[in-house]
Amino acid sequence: MASSSSNLISLKTSDGTVFKVERALAKTMKTVQAIIEEADANIYMIPIHNVFSHHMDMIIDYYKLSVAGKSKEFSVEKLDNDELKDFLLAVHYLNMEDLFEVLTQAVADRLEKKSVGYVRKYFGIENDFTPEEYAAIRKKNDWAFKGDDIEPEEDEEKQEE
């Protein structure tokens, strides 16, 4: 049983797993910290929605590395782009500043060479330009679409001879 005087906090993820974490780790989660502070009596268990157990595993990995001064060794390479996005959303929900910066940088690195079409899908964004508006802004920034390493746009690929 967790109590506010013990050193461990119990966190229950979306998929029902209970993690007992050090108070210091819980402190890096501003959302959790706010819940602890608002409920000044003992809390048995804090539910963390939108966070799955595989997210918690990675969070604990990161925490252990950063305590040992090795936060640079933390890698999200094994996650695909969508898994990385989910993880980022979980960390954002928990309001963990440092890990948030690490993950947004990782996402930026992955998106750097991607096409506009890919980015729209990734962010769940609809194209709200009229065809004329899009043509104009596309033309203005045409140089940014050029380069062997840049992913070509889907609709433009068809137009290539």
Partner: protein, 411 residues
């Protein structure tokens, strides 16, 4: 995040408890944080994603986030070398100072050997810097490589082309004298692969004829301006067979080196407008990037040439200009060499009514200038704060200043 936000998210996830996948929607807070970490080229491309993203450059919150990150790269701070003429009692004494430290708090009066002082008479502190080594040059082609820390110095040898002094018989009119009138150093760079320092310069010849002579024939001989490159390893000069835009403004600040490429800017060159020239040391090829006037129109004012410096900001080449009428500094960066469309106006600082005269841009983008109260100060681009170096032109006059970076490579 506040507690009530936590409740909202709870509700949202409860609505989709049967779905494993979290909603694809990414809130602005997250997307801006991601976007602010992208290189400029990607950012420009993603302007086409949606309308709100096309207006990001006008979004103060986003630009602050972007600039904070962009300008907070870790680089060793600049070192300043100052040559001043101080009035001590009745006499005028020339003194050299060095300023170092995060906030230039270490001020040291330098003691040069007399041989070094002699060289400064010839070359001045007029030059460029690279890895803690200064390349100083004088008006008549003397070039010296100096390491201020060790006070070691190496004068560069003259080149064959430099010592040319010919009397050419002119068929019709007697003799025509040809000699080098100007030696203009355009670049000081380093080639990491072969661990060699290079100096690039152009020799401009002067023709003096003893009589009225139409020396048209000279224009297509090889006495056109000649480009030369010096290699420290071979300690010799070699002609370059290139036809690049050159400039008369060869001062520290008008040229910059980054990553195996020497860059300099030309205000105007023949019919080409203001441009940046990028010379690749490895294959000795060059690119010219025009500077469009909607990026920086300071070149339009030809009443008095405006102050311009090149700098390296977060691994981009930056053009920093001072607009006197508005007392503002304009900072633009180039994403791709050779592409004039890839210039981006990064920010405008000012109006700064306290600016008396701008001097140099440091290695971290700090802008040094003399303030109206005669203090030497610097503007930090990331905080936009002005701080004092700790030198005032009181009974003294700063004759020369050079700002450089400490060596990060073994010399």
């Amino acid at each position: 995040m506040e507690f009530h936000q936590h409740c909202i998210l709870q509700k949202r996830s409860m609505a989709s408890t049967n779905e494993k996948v979290i909603s694809s929607y990414i809130p602005d807070e997250i997307s801006y944080s991601i976007l602010s970490k992208l290189p400029l080229k990607s950012l420009k491309r993603f302007k086409c994603v949606q309308k709100s993203w096309s207006l990001l450059c006008e979004n103060h919150h986003f630009m602050n986030m972007f600039l904070n990150r962009f300008l907070s790269y870790n680089d060793p701070t600049s070192l300043i070398l100052l040559r001043v003429l101080e009035n001590i009692n009745v006499t005028c004494e020339e003194i050299f100072y060095s300023f170092s430290g995060e906030r230039f708090e270490n001020k040291v009066k330098l003691d040069w050997s007399s041989s070094l002082e002699n060289h400064f008479e010839i070359t001045g502190l007029f030059g460029q810097h690279l890895n803690g080594t200064l390349c100083l040059y004088g008006d008549y082609g003397e070039i010296v490589l100096l390491n201020p820390t060790t006070q070691t110095m190496k004068p560069l040898p003259a080149s064959e082309a430099q010592s040319v002094e010919l009397s050419i018989p002119d068929e019709a009119f007697g003799y025509v004298d040809l000699q080098v009138e100007y030696c203009l150093v355009h670049g000081f760079g380093y080639e990491p692969v072969i661990n060699d320092y290079k100096v690039i310069r152009i020799l401009i010849y002067n023709l003096q004829s003893s009589a009225q002579s139409d020396a048209d024939w000279l224009s297509d001989t090889n006495f056109n301006p000649i480009w030369e490159i010096y290699s420290l390893r071979s300690n010799s000069w070699r002609k370059l067979h290139v036809n690049m835009p050159y400039t008369w403004e060869c001062t520290d600040g008008a040229q910059v080196y980054m990553d195996g490429v020497c860059h300099w800017f030309c205000r105007s060159y023949r019919n080409v407008g203001p441009c940046l020239v990028s010379f690749y040391l490895r294959n000795e090829e060059f690119l010219v990037t025009l500077i469009p006037s909607d990026i920086d129109n300071c070149f339009d004012f030809d009443v008095q040439p405006s102050w311009i410096n090149l700098a390296v900001l977060n691994e981009y080449i930056a053009l920093i200009s001072y607009h006197k009428e508005t007392t503002t500094f304009h900072i633009s960066i180039l994403s791709e060499f050779g592409m004039k469309e890839s210039w981006t106006k990064l920010l405008i600082v000012g109006p700064l009514s306290c600016v008396q005269c701008p001097i140099k841009v440091g290695t971290k983008g700090e802008i040094f200038f003399i303030r109206k109260d005669a203090e030497l100060v610097w503007l930090d681009l990331s905080t936009q704060m002005i701080a004092e170096v700790g030198y005032k032109e009181r009974e003294a006059r700063i004759t020369e200043i050079i700002v450089y970076k400490e060596s990060i490579l073994p010399n």
